[in-house]
Chain length 202, copies 2
Amino acid sequence: MTKEGLQSDTTRDRVLSTSAGLFCQHGYAGVSMRKIAESCDMKAGSLYYHFSSKDQILTEVLNMGIEKVHAAVAAALRESSVDVSASDRFRHAIAGHLHALLEYSSFTSANVRIFRQVPPSVQHSTLEVRRRYEALWDGFLGDLKSQGQLRNDVDIRSFRLMLIGALNATLEWFDPELGDITELANRYADMLANGIFAERCT
Amino acid sequence: MTKEGLQSDTTRDRVLSTSAGLFCQHGYAGVSMRKIAESCDMKAGSLYYHFSSKDQILTEVLNMGIEKVHAAVAAALRESSVDVSASDRFRHAIAGHLHALLEYSSFTSANVRIFRQVPPSVQHSTLEVRRRYEALWDGFLGDLKSQGQLRNDVDIRSFRLMLIGALNATLEWFDPELGDITELANRYADMLANGIFAERCT
DNA sequence: ATACCTGCCTAACGTTTGTTAGAAATGATG
DNA sequence: CATCATTTCTAACAAACGTTAGGCAGGTAT
């Protein structure tokens, strides 16, 4: 036997990538197996050689979205663990999220946009990956707080929800072709770390 | 003639409210006229007495979502225009957004979740309402800035996008039955105005 | 040459889609 | 009682839906 399933793998990936784009543009029910196939220059029936159902394609697309972002943030935190200031680590983590989010936007925005409208069984099969990502941020923010880098009265869960919500919303308006993602990350990190008011108040 | 179209109006509203809930839960293509009708104890054909098409229902739902939020924020700003501190006005505006967002969540989350996946013609017919709401915030934030209440180096458009993104994301996790919206608004306003770091840094 | 596996195809299934036309029911007005 | 407008219903249309079964072309192994 030669290189096992090589042709198959690239086709599989093409289907997943195409499906991600279609899902995030038209929603779960708005994309048919026939449209996926057509965008891949195939016929609908052929998809069932690589996937057992529409839901399986969807599940893989959703999971890949979070995993890309998780990997990027984990890498950013790993590379700057020592001798880097808290605000720099914060900035790097945000940059990691935004880079992965906006560069694999087919997968990530499929996740952000349609998670709530997919069948509950599919939702359930992506929950673990979601929680792992939330835990990554909670761990990092918890470290910052125990080092005294954060105000004592900020709730980590609240901030994490606000942060990820704000970052994910960039999918709706930011175009990586037109703007610099690193600069965007710096702006966001600055506003979130220091606030926007000229003077701090109660 | 008696009170013109009274029965008709309440039925219309019931259809719109029901449709909003279904749209935000299952997406645009995931909701059929038959399902809308069934949820209203009607038959599909009867819907066409009140609406000319599925797209018309959708358009009205989307517009109502933004208009509710716009009205709430505009009212909050109007009621606190004088003799109120900048941070209080900021907090009230955020509270207005969150209250409307989370209390009319069928309409607002239909808007937030499925705007990008509806037919372009429908998107287009809601753009004006969207822009009016963005202009409301830009005006308020511009006032704050020209009064010297905001840091000079924060970009208003960037912050407005971050702010609305962060606020809208609460739809995905906050339950008004379990938590206090006003308290949520205070927490968010504090984090956004003052930042989360213990000491401000570059 | 034979057999086999991979990858894609065609054709069909039963169901559901948005929408329309025309018939019934309802209740008020003359 | 007859008339009228309002509101809902039924029945049907062509099109599209997810999925399956079986066939066909290509290269690989025996």
